[in-house]
Structure formats: structure tokens, C-alpha cells
């Protein structure tokens, strides 16, 4: 685009420029949908990964706490998910286009997600499941529902 243009333009050209810009803005705004999708996938992976005995656990012994912590598989799972969450958060703060659908869906989806996570935590504390019983597998996917809905709304906008 030229730098000194303040002259009126041809209507056909104007329509095509409006379309070009619309496509570009929507493409940039959709990035946020992929973040919701990542959260939808990572949340049950985190909940099931920490609950299932898939990783070696540090046994109580005479070694210092820090050594036991570093040998604990769950600690590294938590660190890994924390790093992913921090990266997503940093990328989010740098985004320069906030889509209209994102602005509409973000707050309710976040509240639904937080509420579901608190409910899962309360259930785990109350029922103290051993391993991954069927109900735990089911509830670990509950927080993903608002994320998938938000991702779907943003990515199709």
C-alpha cells in the first residue's frame, strides 16, 4: 500500500481490500482458539498423568527432601505442565489482535474451567481415589469441555 494515499478508491478495489484485511485479522485472532484447544488436551493429560502410577515415585527415606523431590516423577510432570502454561501465558500477553468472538467467550469459558477444576480437586480430596478409577477418568475430562467449546467458537469465527 502506498504511503501517501488519501484519495478515494474504486469500489471493487475497496471491496477486495476489505476482504483481504478481514481474512488477515480473523487468521490472527484464531490463534487464541488453539490455546484453548491446547488447554483442553493438556488438562486431562495432567490430571491422569499425576494420578496414574505411570512415573516413578520417590519413596520416603533418609535422603534430603530436595533429592527426593528431584527423583519424583510427579514433580517433573508438574514442572513440565507449568512450563507449557507459562509459555502459553507469555505468548497470550503478546498477542496483538483480540477477536470479537474471543472477547465474548473468554470470561465465561475461564470461569467454567476454573469451577470444573475446583470440583475435580474437591472430589479427589473427598474420595481419595487409588489409581485411575472410571469416575476419575470421566471427571478429568470435565474441565476440557468449556475449553473445547471456546476453541470451537473461536476457530470457526
Amino acid at each position: 500500500m502506498s504511503q501517501n494515499d488519501s484519495q478515494p478508491m474504486n469500489p471493487h478495489l475497496a471491496m477486495s481490500e476489505a476482504e483481504r484485511v478481514k481474512y488477515q485479522v480473523r487468521r490472527k485472532a484464531r490463534w487464541h482458539g488453539w490455546v484453548w484447544l491446547a488447554v483442553a488436551v493438556l488438562t486431562p493429560a495432567f490430571l491422569l498423568g499425576t494420578q496414574a502410577d505411570l512415573v516413578p515415585r520417590a519413596q520416603p527415606d533418609d535422603r534430603p527432601f530436595v533429592v527426593r523431590l528431584l527423583l519424583d516423577g510427579e514433580f517433573w510432570i508438574a514442572i513440565g505442565f507449568g512450563a507449557i502454561a507459562a509459555t502459553l501465558w507469555i505468548l497470550e500477553t503478546r498477542r496483538g489482535v483480540i477477536g470479537r468472538e474471543t472477547a465474548r467467550i473468554d470470561r465465561p469459558a475461564t470461569w467454567a474451567y476454573v469451577t470444573a477444576m475446583v470440583a475435580v480437586a474437591v472430589l479427589v480430596i473427598a474420595l481419595d481415589p487409588v489409581g485411575t478409577p472410571w469416575w476419575f477418568v470421566a471427571v478429568s475430562f470435565a474441565p476440557s469441555m468449556p475449553c473445547v467449546f471456546a476453541a470451537w467458537r473461536i476457530l470457526r469465527s
Partner: protein, 105 residues
């Protein structure tokens, strides 16, 4: 004065301002640097056109900080959004007329 071209909003109907308003119409808000990249113009030219649109009440400018770096966010006001929708309707009817004329010729 029945031709739709008489209803064209001259404030929007310039290459830079059309791109700016079209971009803002499809977002809740856009950061200054992103809008500059989308419209493909210099910072100073963008600032000049923002001032024009802000004065007309079409654009809302919000200044803030990201860490220590100042950031400017832009969004369309309800008046700006309505003006853009009307503008697109007018353009659509002009292009439809010209397409009809080309078909009949």
C-alpha cells in the same frame, strides 16, 4: 441523488482508512503495531489516520503498558462500526449495479 455513490462515507473511503476500519471491524481491539503491519504503512501515517478517525468518533484509543513498554490498543466505537456496515452495504450495491450493467452490455 439516488445513486448509492452519494451515500459513501468519504472518511472511510480512502485506501488507508478503509483498511484500518475494516481490520478493526473484525476484531474487538488491535494493538498499534499489529494494525500497522496489517495495513502496511508507517507509524507516522497510521498515527495521522488514527487521529482523523478518533476525531470523527469512529475509533477509540486506549493506552497501556506491557511491562515497561507502552502499548496502544485501538477499537471501533459503535458509531464507527455502524458507519463501516453502512459503507459496506453501499459498496455492495454499487458493485452489484456495475456488475448488472456489465452483464447487460
Amino acid at each position: 441523488m439516488s445513486h448509492p455513490r452519494h451515500q459513501i462515507d468519504e472518511l472511510i473511503h480512502t485506501p488507508v482508512r478503509l483498511s484500518m476500519v475494516a481490520a478493526l471491524a473484525h476484531a474487538k481491539s488491535i494493538e498499534f503495531g499489529q494494525l500497522r503491519d496489517i495495513v502496511e504503512i508507517s507509524d507516522s501515517l497510521l498515527s495521522k489516520h488514527i487521529a482523523t478517525l478518533e476525531q470523527a468518533g469512529y475509533v477509540d484509543v486506549r493506552k497501556g503498558y506491557h511491562g515497561k513498554r507502552p502499548r496502544t490498543w485501538l477499537s471501533l466505537t459503535p458509531e464507527g462500526r455502524s458507519a463501516y456496515e453502512t459503507y459496506i452495504d453501499v459498496l455492495t450495491s454499487i458493485t452489484a449495479r456495475s456488475n448488472d450493467r456489465n452483464t447487460h452490455e
